[in-house]
Symmetry: C4
Subunit: 265 residues, 4 copies
Amino acid sequence: MSLKKRTYEILNVSREKGDLSWWVDVLLVTLISLNALALILETVETVFEQYEAFFYYFELVSVIIFSVEYVLRVWSANAAPAYRKPGTGNLRYALTPMALIDLLAVLPFYLPLLGFDFRIARTLRLFRLLRLFKISRYTKALQHINRVFQDKREELGISLTFTTILLLLASTLMYYAEHEAQPEAFSSIPETMWWGIATLTTVGYGDVYPVTAIGKLLGGVIAVIGIGLFALPTGILASGFSEKLSQEAETACPHCGERLEGSRS
Amino acid sequence: MSLKKRTYEILNVSREKGDLSWWVDVLLVTLISLNALALILETVETVFEQYEAFFYYFELVSVIIFSVEYVLRVWSANAAPAYRKPGTGNLRYALTPMALIDLLAVLPFYLPLLGFDFRIARTLRLFRLLRLFKISRYTKALQHINRVFQDKREELGISLTFTTILLLLASTLMYYAEHEAQPEAFSSIPETMWWGIATLTTVGYGDVYPVTAIGKLLGGVIAVIGIGLFALPTGILASGFSEKLSQEAETACPHCGERLEGSRS
Amino acid sequence: MSLKKRTYEILNVSREKGDLSWWVDVLLVTLISLNALALILETVETVFEQYEAFFYYFELVSVIIFSVEYVLRVWSANAAPAYRKPGTGNLRYALTPMALIDLLAVLPFYLPLLGFDFRIARTLRLFRLLRLFKISRYTKALQHINRVFQDKREELGISLTFTTILLLLASTLMYYAEHEAQPEAFSSIPETMWWGIATLTTVGYGDVYPVTAIGKLLGGVIAVIGIGLFALPTGILASGFSEKLSQEAETACPHCGERLEGSRS
Amino acid sequence: MSLKKRTYEILNVSREKGDLSWWVDVLLVTLISLNALALILETVETVFEQYEAFFYYFELVSVIIFSVEYVLRVWSANAAPAYRKPGTGNLRYALTPMALIDLLAVLPFYLPLLGFDFRIARTLRLFRLLRLFKISRYTKALQHINRVFQDKREELGISLTFTTILLLLASTLMYYAEHEAQPEAFSSIPETMWWGIATLTTVGYGDVYPVTAIGKLLGGVIAVIGIGLFALPTGILASGFSEKLSQEAETACPHCGERLEGSRS
């Protein structure tokens, strides 16, 4: 077995607990999780001030490991049947969503070295959030949700169209009802849409609400009728997700947990 | 083929992508969408002040196009089997909901020209919102919801009756519990209904809430029991909608997307 | 046919549109609805001050009609097979929930005449709310919900027990977390339960919420886990209600709307 | 029958109403309920001040009874086939979750007697809350929920992973959008997660909400898409619970209410 093929196997999700590939998985999942933790803790001022150096070196080590991982993944992509051809195969692999995520997750670190403005690079730090998605190789949770969006894209399309129209309608009516009484909170229709979303999702922060009699009447009717209709896209997502989960349960082999042949993806 | 018949075909939703009728559809859908956008952006003061003239001319062009569309639709209605008879057929078509929407969506523009008070005309500007419904000819989202309201009208009737009684009951009890402690927020039963709707829909803005011990106890019981019952009309709408969506999926031809014969409308 | 039997038939829900019994139904439903409206409008100060006399006479007329209705219902109860025996039959009818509601709905008016303190009588005005339930003879909405509570009483019992334990647990933990930081809002466990209900039902008025780190962490965990469990009684009620509605649809004769024989009540 | 076996039978849930074992059940359930009530009422200052002595003696009596119950349960555990072996059997029983709950529910009372610091003992008073779980021997509500967590642990695991990622994603994006405008409320990502939970669960207290245009836009999108996905673990719990309830209904003997043989636990 060539070095390339071996590298490919090691980087992919291991099938057997305890071998080298499995330990690499554990290392990467741990590193991704620690990166998420660092991203969160860095924003807590007291923590950041005390451990600034530590965060810097941890970022440095992470970028190096993720960069090596990225280079090896692109290089060893030829070992997969779909990207067999050297050169174009590697390039085609480099353009897959997962590979782009791998690239964008480390790129912001190199930009200042290449002469880019530091200010732009700082904005790009948000790209570090993409490292979180690297975990989707190892967990079923994100793969599930991805498939649900694929399966239900038509229903989601129709119900999002409808939801948009409903939100527009509710907000326009409420704008005309409340604009005069509360010119600040209901200053324009886009601004009123903030009220619309808070009401139709039943979040109801309470920063804006109608105060006139007609506005309250309208708001009441919108709440009673609109909430049921507005819940459609969320309902479709939720039911799609649980369908997937029960499908998974049915089509998985009871012995090894592997997906059985002939089951719908 | 007569000119009338050709006009009728062009105005109706095209069956073939790329022909003249299809381009008219695209034009009208675009114009309706831009009208919705204009309606929203006009209310943003900074945008309106800068582009006042533009908004005026856009409105003018829109009204002319929609007026021509309306006149042609009424004139060519005879080409449809249901409105074959000239004169009475055109009139009967003009009284269908969609035709009335088309008329009311442009009428406010003409009223001042006919000598009506400007002030009334300004109130009627809200009728421009009706243009949004013109899009229902081209999207399935609004047609679906319309059919759902038709199919479930009996269940909706019963559950809305019940919801009204529940709201009345909760608000009356809460009024007697809180009126003395908060004479402003719970000034009357209709005013207390605003609390009732915010609570039973779980929106909970937080502008009014009980403060007395008995009011909080009552509010807690109402919340636990009432929310499930209040969710009925919204649940009926949501389940009706998703039934329709799955029915649609089953009865559509997999090749052309057309609805198969014998399927329930 | 005896006068008693005829009275019984007239007072019961008519089976044929347009006969005397039907007109009595219409009269009573209208009167009940107007009573509900009066109850609401009386609390609006400006309306009450202007129409005080009108409200008084309307109440007088309503009480007289409802009293006559009550007396006739008790007197004619013997016409029903279940209460055939004069005397004891009438008494047994008078003790049915619906007859007690009829009585309590008019009683407060007579108490001052019988020498009772006016102050007590005023408190008893809330009993006028019971008139609303008289409408359950004529609408299916309240009968449905009654049957749902009957059918699901065991599930409701178990899930209410569980909900109570969950609320108690969440509130006790939150009390210990927040009591020191907010001794006013979280002054005791019963007081904290108000926060618990507002959170677990997702109403979230925003009058009380945790402010400490531990309180927010606890509140977050309670919200994510607890909401699903707390929604159980409301979910049971809602699903029971829609089961009843679809059962009704299946077992009703498609011609006359009457319930078919052999169907489960 | 030995004394040990008789003790075991008496302490376990009675199968026949009215015998000694049944009366012991009634006594213990009552005592547990009264303990819950005392725990709640003690925190109401006015009540506590007036009945301080009473609460002390009630606690004393409760601890004695629960201690005796605990000792007898451990001692008589050998009567159960699973813990037949004296010594190790008793020890193994003492390490079951229910036995540990029994122990921890009384332990804090004894710690000061054993020389522990009073301050620690006071913190441990929260352990009294564990007495509430003792009631799970007698009610089906808590046993149900326990089984639901067992049955659905895999789905719950996947959806909680996903929920965590979603919360992290939403909070990080919102932190970068709002941190500058509201450095207090959105001071760090962990702090922003409080907003994230309040929004994604639709509780929406209204203590924190976005104020910038980009924050509101982001918040709107997160609310519409995220709520449906965030509802997954709660939905799984709720549906698991109602499955259990209907399973129970089907597999219970209609005469005695006992569970039928061969039914899945």
